[in-house]
């Protein structure tokens, strides 16, 4: 397959201008003749749907939650980056672009990232206008904090609830459009398939999660903004409902899946405490601004943290990365934590944890100041662990948090299937092999408010108004039939093991062999274990109830069925990528414990093509050309 990224010609800084100069437009009177489907109502989906409505398109907005406001973007804590340079500390569009490419370990597409940095400032303006209560100084001007992987303060925040506030802004804009009649909402509705007509994405098949009704929806274009696939590892910081079904089924209809093995493991999560644990809770990376990470110097030191004198503590991030210290990027901090735990210096009952200590900051700034900055995070930590981080250091450990991989998209955020656009975490485009903190919110909103509204018009202008197929077309009927058959097939098994049981088991395989460190032997082993477990799933899973009403076991079963297939692709991708880069750490390729990239062979985007059940997927490579930057070894030392 020839993957054309359609990057505009010309110097990097002028590419987006050139695109906008050349893009085809849909005239205002014609916009209402086009229907757009947007699946997902997180930052990317809600902002896209609202903006399409503002432009005058007819929008159908789908989400699995009971309200669009609950999408998992709501849980992002720390902040959103923008190259505003309000702090006068040397920030610029170029520096944000450079930090993002470098943070992504030179595995992202330059042109997309530059555009992201260019529109970052507009996002802040837009959110402020919507009434997002960003933190402010006494002057009334916006406040900033610093974040991992950057030496400037460019992160805007609303206490520890930035994602919630940005999502409410987008949701409120969306509700305004619902009121105006441009957007129709479909809550508690799950996309089960993508409908492709004459090679173009022209609709979706959905299941109403309350009545179980299977329905067809046709449109002139489809946008997937359905988030990441971190739950393939079972335990992650994702919401329970976060799933890969929409993007996976689109993949099976022809959309390439790019870089599935790039998953981010977040360094500051609350450690696992028991076997019944259903999710891991993140403690915002912003805590590393004032918290110092350490473990005892001695192996197996079981003394209480307060009893360990200063000179017997190893502040390993400050020691290894003096210039970035506790603010080293996420992948590096996570691996460093794994290393000290592997050495037997981990803390807590399981030995899988490191301290994040605020005592120095409390001494310097006082408890009140720390409470103002992180109060809700400290409360959250207290609720979960019963410990006060004002008194004893937090215990943290890395956990699966974000997936940089996703459906392949070109510069216009359109997949290789014309008419199918993919935004936010669901696409692969901007973060390379590792995402920097506070950049997910930026990307989701950039895609929705300022990129898709331009690029989708360019596609729609090539489609005759009123040319979209009707839902009685054979393609829709066939897809509906297949969706019903799969549900019936799952229900008919009536085996012995629960869906959760299978999901947990899959998660263990993934964490063990395709987690923080990977190697050829382990990945090959996973490629045997996953299909075997998958086979058992299809023989022995037990799903009570019917498909004709609300059935949460059935919902989960469909998602887990997809995780099996996706997990295999993740492992396959990890095996083929025989180098270390960003979040993908192959033990065979390291230099003093750091990632060792192989640019000659692997400076490409791996875009996997589905070839059918029991067929090996085909790897297509989009070479990454660096016009502006030189590929360099990342150093945060």
């Amino acid at each position: 397959m020839n993957l054309d990224a359609r990057i505009p010609e010309g110097p990097l800084a002028q590419k987006w201008d050139k695109f906008r100069r050349d893009a085809k437009l849909v005239n205002p009177a014609n916009k209402r003749k086009y229907d757009i489907i947007v699946v997902g109502t997180g930052l990317a989906g809600a902002s896209a749907a609202a903006t399409f409505g503002e432009l005058g398109y007819n929008v159908k907005s789908f989400c699995i939650q009971d309200s669009p406001r609950r999408a998992h973007s709501v849980a992002a804590q720390g902040g959103i980056n923008a190259a505003k340079n309000y702090q006068n500390d040397g920030d610029s569009v170029y520096r944000l672009f450079y930090d993002t490419i470098k943070g992504g370990d030179f595995r992202a597409r330059e042109a997309n990232v530059y555009r992201l940095a260019q529109v970052s400032g507009n996002i802040i303006d837009q959110c402020v206008a919507q009434g997002v209560p960003f933190a402010r100084e006494y002057s009334g001007y916006l406040s900033n904090r610093s974040f991992g992987g950057a030496q400037v303060s460019r992160t805007f925040y609303a206490r520890g609830q930035t994602g919630q506030q940005l999502l409410l802004g987008a949701y409120q804009s969306l509700m305004r459009q619902v009121n105006l009649g441009t957007v129709k909402l479909f809550p508690r509705t799950e996309m089960l398939d993508l409908v492709v007509v004459n090679g173009h994405a022209k609709g979706i098949i959905t299941r109403n999660l309350i009545t179980g009704a299977i329905e067809s929806h046709a449109a002139d274009a489809v946008v997937l903004a359905t988030g990441g696939y971190g739950n393939a590892w079972y335990l992650s910081t994702n919401a329970q409902g976060s799933n890969a079904t929409a993007i996976w089924r689109a993949h099976k209809k022809g959309a390439c899946f790019a870089n599935p093995c790039y998953a981010q493991i977040h360094p500051t999560c609350i450690p696992v405490s028991g076997d019944s644990q259903s999710k891991l809770t993140l403690m915002s990376e912003s805590l590393r601004n004032d918290g110092r990470v350490w473990v005892p110097k001695k192996k197996g030191d079981k003394r209480a943290p307060g009893a360990i004198p200063e000179d017997e503590r190893d502040y390993y991030l400050e020691r290894k990365y003096p210039s970035y210290g506790n603010l080293a990027p996420r992948d590096i901090s996570s691996r460093a934590a794994k290393q000290v735990c592997d050495e037997g210096r981990g803390v807590g009952e399981s030995g899988l944890g490191v301290y994040l200590d605020f005592s120095a900051a409390i001494q310097r700034l006082g408890e009140a100041k720390i409470a103002e900055r992180y109060g809700n995070l400290f409360d959250m930590y207290h609720e979960i662990t019963g410990e006060s981080a004002y008194k004893v250091p937090m215990r943290i450990f890395p956990a699966i948090h974000y997936t940089m991989g996703g459906l392949w998209v070109d510069y216009n955020l359109m997949s290789n299937l014309p008419g199918l656009f993919v935004a936010g975490e669901a696409n692969f485009s901007d973060h390379g092999a590792n995402r920097l903190g506070a950049s997910a919110l930026m990307q989701g909103l950039a895609d929705g408010y300022f990129v898709l509204p331009y690029t989708i018009g360019d596609y729609l202008a090539s489609q005759k108004p009123g040319s979209r197929p009707k839902t009685d077309a054979t393609e829709f009927q066939q897809a509906e039939k297949e969706a019903r058959e799969q549900l019936q097939k799952l229900l008919a098994i009536r085996g012995k093991r629960t869906v959760t049981d299978f999901h947990k088991h899959l998660g263990k395989i993934m964490w063990e062999y395709c987690g923080m460190a990977r190697n050829e032997t382990g990945l090959k082993k996973a490629l045997e274990l996953i299909p075997a477990l998958q086979e058992e799933f299809w023989k022995d899973v037990n799903i009570p109830g019917e498909s004709s009403d609300l059935n949460q076991s059935l919902e989960r079963a469909g998602r887990v069925a997809d995780y099996f297939e996706l997990a295999e692709l993740i492992v396959r991708d990890a095996l083929v990528r025989d180098e270390s880069c960003g979040g993908h750490f192959r033990e065979e390729h390291q230099e003093e414990g750091e990632c060792k990239r192989n640019d000659e062979q692997f400076a490409y985007v791996a875009a996997w093509e589905y070839k059918g059940v029991d067929q090996a997927p085909v790897l297509n490579k989009e070479p990454l050309h660096y016009e502006e930057l030189h590929l360099a070894t990342r150093s945060y030392k």
Partner: protein, 256 residues
């Protein structure tokens, strides 16, 4: 630890519901309340029965999806947390725990512990926004906002829209939710232009949805997982009467 659950089971809105008892055994006090329900559901599923349907998503107290009345209190015994952040250490070994759905006319039941809270979305549609479209915003620092105003707006905006305030109120009033939503925007300069039509539109929609009247008992504030203050109700009433006195037009569908 071991507990006995008394759970409200109801197949659908039209069928009668009833309490069913389940034994939950060998639990760790550090397990979350919803993980305990997961464990019970695993046992129920293995017996071939349908597990208890309950709403949940983020499990970190921010999405507002989880609900439940636990031992008579929305979101259970602990203050300022949602059901998903409730841990078994808040209960006694051997205790019988009663679990019911949020009960209010405006939140019709869907199944077991799941109710329909889309009335809240419709209230937001009636004015809970600033009418700004992408592309038209001035620079973020163009309008300074006094820190105390932005902090107060943030206090209101922290509402997660779970509906516990409605469930706790003997009149099933939604005043705490609506006042938080109105105040968040009405406290900021960006929200001033539409201040009056916002409050009139949202209050009217709230009444149409069948929520009851507010008698300021404060039960809503007591159970709110985010500690939203009753003061916002006073503030909204002030905005509302001001708008009535001035005869401001309420939010109506504008032409696109």
């Amino acid at each position: 630890m071991n507990v006995t659950l008394k759970v409200w089971r109801q197949e659908g809105p039209e069928t009668p519901g009833k309490f069913v008892r389940y034994a939950a055994q060998n639990l760790s006090p550090n397990m979350s309340f919803l993980e305990m329900l997961d464990t019970v559901n695993e046992t129920i599923t293995k017996s071939g029965e349908e597990p208890i349907a309950f709403d949940h998503d983020c499990r970190e107290g921010i999405c507002g999806m989880c609900s439940c009345i636990i031992n008579g209190e929305p979101h259970g015994p602990e203050k300022k947390v949602a059901t998903c952040q409730t841990y078994l250490r808040s209960f006694k070994d051997g205790e019988t725990i009663t679990i019911e759905p949020f009960r209010a006319k405006a939140f019709p039941l869907i199944k077991d512990l799941i109710v329909n809270r889309s009335a809240f979305d419709r209230i937001i549609q009636a004015g809970g926004f600033v009418s700004t479209s992408a592309g038209s915003a001035p620079d973020g620092n163009a309008i300074p906002v006094p820190k105390q105003h932005t902090d107060a707006a943030m206090d209101a905006a922290a509402c997660i829209g779970c509906g516990a305030c409605v469930a706790a109120c003997k009149n099933a009033s939604a005043m705490l939710f609506v006042s938080a939503k109105v105040s968040h925007l009405n406290l900021l300069p960006q929200g001033q232009t539409e201040k009056e039509r916002r409050v009139l539109g949202m209050v009217e929609q709230m009444d149409q949805e069948g929520f009851g009247a507010c008698t300021v008992t404060g039960s809503c504030e007591a159970v709110c997982p985010k500690g939203i203050s009753l003061n916002f109700i006073a503030k909204m009433n002030r905005d509302y009467f001001g708008a009535l006195l001035r005869g401001s037009p309420k939010a109506t569908v504008e032409s696109v």
